[in-house]
Symmetry: C2
Subunit: 378 residues, 2 copies
């Protein structure tokens, strides 16, 4: 049984899918571990740290995809897919409901693709929930980015030259990222308001010492995710939010609706009354944006208000993001582990839903639906 960890080659990606602690676990399982040279450097894990645990350093992408199990952070390119063995298992963020060309290629290559995005949010799978672990890191990084960019103190400051009041922070969207953003803003001493369309988030917001913005709420879907609102509700939502947006010094937005573009919560008209120097970090910039005018990986200045659209937030805290992600993958690997190495059980509550391709076929129902594979006549 051989597991390999290639170097991530996507721009701004500093993470790695294994860290010395997870590699040590694989070695304890008597697996061979191959790490591509330099793969951990940007995350603070030099080759030597992996060698110390008993891993082999391999020289390039070819050798780092030559294994029974390949662990990645982001999706492979078509060239990288071509390096994977028939019958091998690939595990990582594979964007399986959007990047359907990659899914097709993985099926044709006869690779079993396990997408961490599709790990169900059930309690037995908590330790494998990479989406949560990385969103947690992202919420922290978004606040640090906002705090560093803001021309104001976040905490209150009492000095001989007068008192500086605490900054006013606003968090929109209270999932894992939003909760961590609230906690981090609170740590830094800001006065924090937060809002989410799902009514059950109010208690969570208040338990962190923040105030819940009383805009319209709407029940979540059975998965606990936000649902789309009608135009009338959106208008009432924006009306209430407008005051809080205008007063805020720092804003982090995290709202997502699965399978839909992110909801626009802050319109151009809501930005105009904000005071110059205010900072907005839109964590949904790559899926349409919660904020009018935000763009992925750009900083847009609207009348002195800086709107950031970072898509690399977990990667900015690469040491710990990798550590948490590597632990998620280790738990997933452990779930698949048998005496023979690893075995894919499509009936397993965790691995089944996360398996996208297997034995040359596209097996995930949602991916099949997105690709129109089960439609009549197809």
């Amino acid at each position: 049984m051989r597991v390999a960890i290639p170097k991530e080659r996507a721009p701004r990606e500093n993470r790695i899918a294994a860290v010395p602690a997870s590699v040590k676990t694989f070695i304890d399982w008597e697996w061979d571990v191959a790490v591509e040279t330099g793969a951990g450097v940007a995350a603070g894990y030099p080759d030597g740290a992996f060698i110390d645990t008993g891993a082999t350093i391999v020289p390039n992408a070819v050798t780092a995809h030559d294994a029974d199990l390949v662990l990645r952070v982001g999706p492979p390119t078509h060239d990288e897919i071509a390096l994977l063995h028939a019958g091998s298992v690939l595990c990582g963020f594979l964007d399986p409901f959007v990047a359907t060309d990659l899914v097709d290629a993985l099926a044709q290559q006869n690779v079993t693709a396990v997408a961490v995005e599709a790990i169900p949010r059930i309690s037995v799978a908590q330790s494998m929930d990479a989406l949560s672990s990385q969103q947690n890191v992202a919420g922290y990084a978004a606040v640090l980015l906002a705090a560093d960019a803001a021309p104001k103190f976040l905490p209150m400051l009492v000095t001989a030259a007068g008192t500086i009041p605490p900054a006013r922070a606003l968090v929109l969207g209270v999932g894992v990222a939003g909760l961590q953003a609230i906690a981090t803003f609170k740590r830094l001493g800001a006065v924090v308001h937060a809002y989410d369309i799902r009514p059950e988030t109010k208690e969570q917001v208040e338990s962190l010492g923040a105030k819940f913005v009383e805009a319209p709420t709407q029940a979540a879907d059975e998965g606990g995710y936000a649902t789309e609102v009608d135009a009338d509700t959106a208008a009432r939502q924006q009306e209430v939010l407008a005051t809080f947006v205008a007063d805020a010094d720092v804003i982090v937005t995290t709202a997502q609706i699965p399978g839909r573009p992110a909801p626009q919560l802050i319109t151009e008209e809501m930005i105009t009354p904000m005071h110059p120097g205010s900072v907005i970090v839109d964590m949904a910039a790559s899926t349409g944006g919660n904020v009018a005018g935000s763009r992925p990986d750009e900083i847009i200045n609207v009348g002195g208000v800086a709107i950031y659209g970072p898509t690399d937030l977990p990667s900015r805290v690469a040491t710990d993001a990798s550590r948490m992600y590597a632990r998620n993958l280790q738990e997933i690997a452990n779930r698949m582990r048998t005496d023979a190495g690893i075995t894919i059980d499509l009936d397993d509550d965790v691995i089944g839903p996360a398996t996208i391709t297997h034995e040359g076929s596209i097996v995930n129902p949602r991916t099949r639906s997105v690709m129109g594979l089960d439609e009549e006549g197809s």
Copy 2:
């Protein structure tokens, strides 16, 4: 009585020497206030905010130096000095013990130069202590910079995917900036160690919840400032500090010795064992550096350790740094204020020591000494 506030033109300088609150006070004193157009924009104070208080917006540097009292952040250029009236008062950071060519030019222009660096640290002058207010901001900004740059979480994080231990922070030099750095690292949840050569800082460090590093200490001078150590003490200091430096994830250094280059506290040999991804912010980079290899306004990478040498830290928090600085200048102006406008009293405990040039002469003893003006035969 007319006071003017020019736009700062130095690179990376976002601050302004007045804010609407201080301008309003001047207006209440029945002073005319002229603000150069755009002077407050980078700090988040647009022209309109000054107009609302009753100030006049003037179009350029010429009109913004045409006043009885000119308030600045950084030192003027020779061209700007030429714009000042004979008999007018200039107040700001003037670098009066180093930039002696400017001091000469100010004396020749018959300008009274009041340097905020030379305001004595006595209790009656606390509200005028611009060095302290800006160092306070700088200490905060240094930690935000370090935290944003670090690839690690500062707080401890307990998640389903394991526990991330808190980051280890080290603060060297515990003056105003160091104390604020400790407080900010503590807010962010880091484990903080701190050290200063002056023994009385131990209690201050501990009162903030940080641990004092038990390296050699040495009594401060009568002004409360650190004094230079001999080679033997420096060696023992570095020996103790080496362990803490090697273990640290984030380091902020703030050590200064008045009138001397900053002491080198972290040598190249001490950086080598640090783990890759560690971040050092050297706040003394422009005065020689506390850290081997640091350079002003650059980021140096030494074996994966990033060494920052920012010289613009207060300017990064320009809204509040300006607010505090403007309040310092307002208190200084109030100290000089008489029925006639302002009067320089060289016998005043605060204004006397801070006055560098007056009625065509260089009057500050320390500046005179640096310039060799009182030496026999000169």
